[in-house]
Structure formats: C-alpha cells, structure tokens
C-alpha cells in the first residue's frame, strides 16, 4: 500500500471519528445556544484535533517511506473531481435552503450559526468522498 493510499485511509478514519463527535454537538448548539461562543469553541477543538491526529498519523506512516508519483497525482485529481461535484451539489442545497428560509422565523440570530454548521458539513462530506474515491481508485483501477 502506497503512502498516499495509507494517507487516504487514515484521513477518512480521522475525519469520520472527529466529525462524528463534532457535528451532532454542533447541530444541537447551533439550534439552541443564544451565543456563538460554544460553537466556536468546539469548532476550534475539531480543527485542532484534525490537525494533531493527521500530523501524527502522517509522521508515523512516513517512517515507511513517503514517495508519491504520477499515478498518485492522477488518482488525487480524479478523486478531487468527484469531491468537487459533491461539494457543489451540497452547497446548492444549502443555498436553496437559505433562499426558501430567508427570514429566520424565530428572529433569535441562530440562523447564521446553523448555516455555518451546514457549510462545514458539506466541506467535511466532500473531503470524506474524496478519500473514499481515492481508496476505490487505488483498489479498482487508475
């Protein structure tokens, strides 16, 4: 298994674990908290956790070599293309949701926070799809 394939597996697992903790909490906070502070706090924890886990993981797998080549780059480009479609469609749904709910009925200022969580979710989903596509391309073809 090449460095890039190990990287895709590890990044997918880390994203699933950390986002599995983050998003349920974030959605509850975004819909209930009157302040942005708790959401910002757990978002910072999410980002730091991802950086630390991925840095340590990549440091460990690099001990077995970190060569990449033309096939790795081609697979990454193809996976990026798939992820870009997922991100585009997700963002279209979010924009559609915003347009249908332009005015927050409760008027309590929570709406922008919820939107931030939805946009972050779309980005995380696109990243997950990218890693899955990379793994499939490595296993099946390319």
């Amino acid at each position: 298994m090449s460095f890039e394939e190990k990287s895709a597996w590890g990044s997918l697992l880390a994203l699933a674990l950390v986002s599995g903790w983050y998003f349920p909490k974030a959605i509850v906070i975004a819909n209930t908290s009157p302040s942005a502070a708790p959401l910002i706090a757990i978002s910072v924890i999410w980002i730091i956790a991802m950086i630390v886990i991925l840095a340590v993981y990549h440091g460990v797998i690099a001990l077995w070599g970190y060569d990449t080549d033309e096939r790795d780059r081609l697979i990454e480009l193809k996976a990026d293309r798939v992820a870009a479609h997922v991100l585009s469609v997700s963002l279209l749904f979010i924009v559609g949701h915003v347009m249908l709910n332009l005015v927050d009925p409760s008027g309590d200022g929570i709406f922008p926070l919820a939107m931030a969580v939805w946009i972050l979710s779309a980005m995380a989903l696109a990243e997950a799809v990218k890693y899955i596509a990379q793994i499939i391309y490595y296993r099946v073809s390319a």
């Binding site: 090449s2 060569d67 080549d69 033309e70 096939r71 790795d72 099946v140 390319a142």
Partner: protein, 71 residues
C-alpha cells in the same frame, strides 16, 4: 476490474533483465512499486515519459514494451 487497452511486456522484460524486481524498476524510473504493479496488471497506462524511461531501462524501443490492443 477495468483494464487499459495499452498492453505491455514489462513483466517478461524484467525477468529477461536479470530477474529485476518491481522495486528496482520503480526506483530506476522514479515511481512507486505500486505503480509498476498497476502497469503490469494493465490497470494503469503510464505517462509517455514513464513509458520511455521503462524502455530505456530495458534498452529496447518503446514499441517492444508497450503496444495498443485494437481488438
């Protein structure tokens, strides 16, 4: 498994060149061993540059290493 129409004799040429390992060929042309595996299984068509480097490594014309399956 999707196979490319670009076929090759890399595996045979490795054995005819002192039973060269996939790792040795990979290092010689600057790719990973996994890429050599994918080329030999005809799941990946290498770039023109990599194809030429493989031919140069075996000291044969590129047409003796790679060919196109028109069927």
């Amino acid at each position: 498994m999707a196979k490319t129409k670009v076929k090759n004799h890399v595996r045979r040429l490795r054995f005819e060149n002192g039973e060269m390992t996939q790792q040795q060929l990979a290092e010689a042309i600057g790719v990973t061993r996994q890429t050599i595996v994918a080329i030999e299984k005809e799941k990946y068509s290498p770039s023109l540059e990599a194809a030429f480097l493989i031919a140069i490594e075996f000291n044969v014309p590129i047409g003796e290493v790679f060919y196109y399956d028109e069927s």
